[in-house]
Symmetry: C2
Subunit: 490 residues, 2 copies
C-alpha cells in the first residue's frame, strides 16, 4: 500500500485536538508570485509590513568559528546583506516564511537523509520544518494533537516541561516502567505490552486508549538510557498494533558513545579507531524510530541546542505532510518564523566548515564536527564513570551507577535505607550535604511523572558531565559526591 | 490606594483562563544559589544539561553596525565569549533564564522609563519581560487569559493573526467601529461607550461583558490610524468603568510623524527643526496607555521588529507582576528563552551606538537611531501621500486617502460602485489589474474581523511605504496603482 496525502489526512484526522479545530488562520497576504513581467520593469511590493533592508542597523557581520571543539584555530566567516548568496542578511534580518529558509531546510533534509533518519514512505509525503527549539515544537504538537480525551504514554522519568505541556491540554499522561539493566535499557516492553493488551482491565481503564507515545530513545533525560534497536522495533510494532503515534524526541542522538570498557576506562574508539563518518553513521548511531516508519506515525524532533548552541533556539521536526501543515500554521500565528539570525549563523557556520559548498562535503564536515563533540563527550563519560567506580562510596556499596552510551547524563542510585526515613526526605537531606561539599546535581525524584508509580526510582541523582570545565573538575565533583554520600549514609 | 502584589492577584485572578489553571510547572532544577564558600575551591555544577562553552562552534563574532539608517559608515563591534563583560557569548550561546538577560532587561526598563512608557503605580509591581516577538507574546497572553467565556474587543480592521489566536482559545471577538476622520482617528468612542453602556440589550447580549480590549493605538495595522491622547483617556476611563484590561500592541509607536503639510508636502520637521530627543519624546511620541495606568490593567507590547530587524524575533512586554509570573512560566515550558544570540546582537549593537556605556548615553544614542528611522519614514510617507494626491485616479475622485501620522501604512479607499458588483468581487478584480500593472498591496477586506460589520470598509487597499527601494519606486508604485484604478473604474 502506498500512502497519499489524502490517506494521511484520513488516517491522522482522529489524532487532532479539539483545540486545533478552533485554530483558523486567515492569511491576509497574497502567497502566489505575480505573473508580472515587463522588460526593464520591476514588480513593486506594497504589501508586507517589512522595513527596507537599509533600515536595519547591521551592515554585515563575521563569525569566527572553531575548527574543532576546544580548539583555538578559527576560520573567519563573513556574512553580508548579499553573501552568502544562498542565505544572506537581507533575507535573514527580514520577516520570512514560517517554515524556515529553503537552503537550511534543504540542508537538514539532506543531512537526515544521509543518516537514514527519514521515513520509509514516499519522500514527497514528509517535510522538515525548521522551528525554534524542540521544547516549543513539542508544546505545539501537544496543543495540536491532544485534549481532554487524549492519553499520552511517557517514560516514568522524563523531561518534565513536556509533562506540563501535555497536562495543560487537558490530556492524561500514563507512565511506562523503565528498565535500567545494562542489557535492557529503556521502556520495559513486557510491561508496556501487557498494559496495552489489557488496557480495559488495567489501572488506566477509566481513560481512553493512548494515542501518543512521547519517548527520548537515546541518552534519555534524566536516566541516560538508550533503547536497543530490538526494543525500538518492538515498540514500533506495538504502535502499529494499538495505533498510536510516536513522538521521538532525540536531542542527544548524535552524542552516542561506544560501550564503557571496564578494563580500559579511558578507551575511546573515536580516537583509537580513527573512526570515519561511515562507521559513525553505520555502527555508532542508533536506528531511529522515524527510519522504521512506513505509516506516517512517527514525528521526530531534532535540535541544534546540544550540537551547536542552545542560545540559537533552533531545531527542526521531521513529520508527515498532514501534521506538517498543522504545525506550520501554528508557527505562523505565534512565533511566526524561527529566528532569522539563528538560521543565518547556523547555516553559515556549518557551510564554512566544509572545503566546498557541495552538499555532500558540507554534510561530511558537519558530521566531523559532531563526531569530535561525541568524542569529547565519550572522554567525559569515561572520566566520570571511572571516577564513580573508584569512589569510596561506590566501593562501600553506597550507590550504584547506570552506564550511559549516549547523551549528557549519568544517574547514580543511592542506597538509602528506606526504613530510616522517606526516600525523598533523605535525598533532600543528602543534597544539602552535597551543597556543603560544593557539588550539585538534579534530584531524580523531581523528574518522576508519578512518584507513587516510580517509588523504586526516587533515590537517584542525575549528574551531567557536559558542563564541567575539564576532566579534573569532573573527578573532583565525584569525590565530593562520594564524600557527601559517605558522610550522610555511613 | 496603593497597590500591592496581593491586591494584583486578587484583582486580576478573574482575568485568567481555565487553560492557565491547567498549566502546572514543575521546576526540577534548584533555583537558589549555593551557600558553598571554601577558600580556593569552586562550587561544581552537575545539574543543568548545558554543554560546556568550548563545545560551541563560535569562538567570537563581530558586527558591523551602521551609524545611521542608509548610511555607509560602519562601526565594528567585537563580541567574544568574555566581552562585553555585561553580556558575553558564553552566556548568550547557552541555556539561560526565560525572562531574558538582566542587562537587556535593565536597558529596556531604563529606556521605557525615560520615555514615560511605564505605569503610574509602584515600580516594584511591574516588570519588563523579554520575549521573542509581540505576535508570540500576544498568543501567550490570550492562552493565559481567555477561554470560552471570554470576550475581547478589537478594532474592526486589525492585525488578523491576533484574531486567530483569540478565537483559538474559544473566546469571542467583538469588533469596534473605527473612525477614519482626520480629526478623529481610531476607535469610535461614541459607538464604544454606547455598546458598553447597553451591552445587555445590544447585539452581543448573548455574550458576557468584555474583559479585554486589544488595540494598536499608533499607526494602526492596517489603517495607519493614530488615536489622540483624548481618545486614549476616554478609553482608559471606559476600561476603569467597565473593568477590562487593555492590551496595547505598539510596534509602530516610535515611527511617529508630524502631520502631513499639504502646502509643503516634503516638509520634514525631523530635519527642518533639528529635533532633539527631548522634543521627540515630549512633542512627537504619543502618550501610551501604560503611562495612564494606575490600576495594573494595561499590558504593553513593544518589539524590535520594526526599529531593529524582524529576523531577530525579539520583543518585550511591560506588565504587572501578576501577569508577568503567568507569562514567564508559559515561556519557561515553550520557547524557554528569547533567542540568546538575538539578545546579544541587539544589546551589543545598541550599546555600540553610544560614546560611553553610561545608560543615559546609550538611551540617547538609541533614540537618535530611532529618530533617524522615523525621519526616513516621514520622507517616505510624504512622498507616497504627495504621489497619491497628485495621481490621476485621485484627481478624478476614484479613491480617497487616510493620512497616517505613524507607522508604515496608508490606506486608499477605492470608490467602487456598489451597484455594479459586490465590493469584494470588485476589489479582487482590481487587484488583478494591479498585478498586470506590476504593483501589489494588501486587500483591506482580508483584515476585517467581521465583513458584515465592516461592510462600509471593505473597499480599501493597505499600502506600505516601508519596503520600497527608494522614493522613485514609491512614486512609480503609486502611478501604477492609479493607472490600475483608472483602467478598472473609468
Ligand atoms: C529530552 C529533551 N527534549 C528537549 C530539550 C530541549 O531542546 P531545545 O533546546 O531544542 O528546546 C531538552 C533539553 O533540555 C531535552 O533534554
Ligand atoms: C499590530 C502588529 N502587532 C504585532 C506585529 C508582530 O510583531 P513581531 O514581529 O514582534 O512578532 C505586527 C507586525 O506585523 C503588527 O503589525
Amino acid at each position: 500500500m502506498t500512502l497519499t496525502n489524502q490517506e494521511l489526512r484520513d488516517r491522522f484526522a482522529p489524532f487532532i485536538s479539539r483545540r486545533d479545530a478552533d485554530r483558523h488562520i486567515n492569511i491576509f497576504w497574497e502567497t502566489q508570485p505575480s505573473a508580472f513581467s515587463e522588460p526593464g520593469k520591476q514588480f513593486i511590493e506594497l504589501s508586507g509590513g517589512m522595513p527596507h533592508t537599509s533600515f536595519f542597523p547591521i551592515e554585515s557581520m563575521s563569525v569566527n568559528i572553531l575548527t574543532a571543539p576546544g580548539s583555538t584555530d578559527t576560520i573567519n566567516v563573513p556574512i553580508t546583506h548579499e553573501t552568502p548568496s544562498s542565505l544572506a542578511l537581507k533575507h535573514t534580518l527580514q520577516y520570512a516564511l514560517s517554515e524556515g529558509f529553503q537552503p537550511l531546510i534543504d540542508f537538514v533534509r539532506a543531512f537526515v537523509t544521509r543518516l537514514g533518519n527519514v521515513p520509509q514512505y514516499d519522500p514527497s509525503l514528509w517535510q522538515c520544518l525548521i522551528a525554534n527549539g524542540s521544547c516549543d515544537s513539542l508544546f505545539k504538537i501537544f496543543q495540536t494533537c491532544t485534549d481532554e480525551r487524549s492519553v499520552v504514554l511517557v517514560e516514568e522519568l522524563t523531561f518534565v516541561p513536556v509533562i506540563s505541556n501535555i497536562l495543560a491540554t487537558g490530556a492524561k499522561v500514563v507512565p511506562l516502567k523503565l528498565s535500567m539493566r545494562d542489557d535492557d535499557q529503556g521502556i520495559d516492553t513486557t510491561y508496556m505490552e501487557d498494559l496495552l493488551a489489557n488496557w480495559e482491565t488495567g489501572p488506566y481503564a477509566a481513560y481512553d486508549r493512548p494515542k501518543f507515545l512521547y519517548t527520548i530513545p537515546t541518552g534519555q533525560n534524566p536516566t541516560g538510557l538508550t533503547q536497543s534497536v530490538d526494543k525500538r522495533r518492538k515498540i514500533y510494532a506495538l504502535a502499529q498494533k494499538y495505533d498510536f503515534v510516536i513522538l521521538e524526541d532525540d536531542p542527544y542522538g548524535y552524542l552516542k558513545f561506544p560501550k564503557f570498557n571496564h578494563e580500559k576506562p579511558m578507551e575511546n574508539p573515536y580516537i583509537s579507531t580513527e573512526m570515519t563518518t561511515e562507521q559513525y553513521a553505520r555502527d555508532v548511531l542508533m536506528t531511529s524510530y522515524i527510519s522504521m516508519d512506513t505509516d506516517g506515525r512517527v514525528i521526530r524532533f531534532e535540535t541544534f541546542s546540544k550540537i551547536f548552541a542552545p542560545g540559537m533556539r533552533l531545531s527542526f521536526v521531521i513529520l508527515n505532510n498532514f501534521f506538517y501543515e498543522k504545525l506550520l500554521k501554528f508557527q505562523e500565528i505565534t512565533t511566526r518564523q524561527p529566528t532569522g539570525i539563528s538560521q543565518q549563523i547556523v547555516y553559515s557556520t556549518i557551510h564554512a566548515m566544509a572545503p566546498t559548498k557541495n552538499t555532500d562535503d558540507v554534510i561530511e564536515a558537519w558530521l566531523h564536527w559532531i563526531m569530535k563533540l561525541a568524542c569529547s563527550y565519550t572522554d567525559r563519560r569515561n572520566v566520570m564513570l571511572d571516577a564513580l567506580y573508584n569512589s569510596e562510596a561506590y566501593k562501600r556499596g553506597l550507590y550504584s551507577v547506570v552506564e550511559p552510551s549516549a547523551g549528557m547524563f549519568i544517574i547514580v542510585n543511592v542506597n538509602v535505607d528506606e526504613k530510616r526515613a522517606p526516600v525523598i526526605q533523605q535525598m533532600d537531606e543528602l543534597i544539602r550535604v552535597m551543597d556543603k561539599h560544593g557539588v550539585r546535581a538534579i534530584l531524580g525524584y523531581k523528574m518522576a511523572v508519578d512518584r507513587e508509580f516510580s517509588k523504586d526510582h526516587l533515590n537517584f541523582f542525575r549528574l551531567t558531565y557536559a558542563y564541567a570545565d575539564n576532566h579534573e573538575q569532573l573527578r573532583e565533583a565525584v569525590t565530593r559526591l562520594s564524600d557527601s554520600v559517605v558522610e550522610y549514609l555511613a
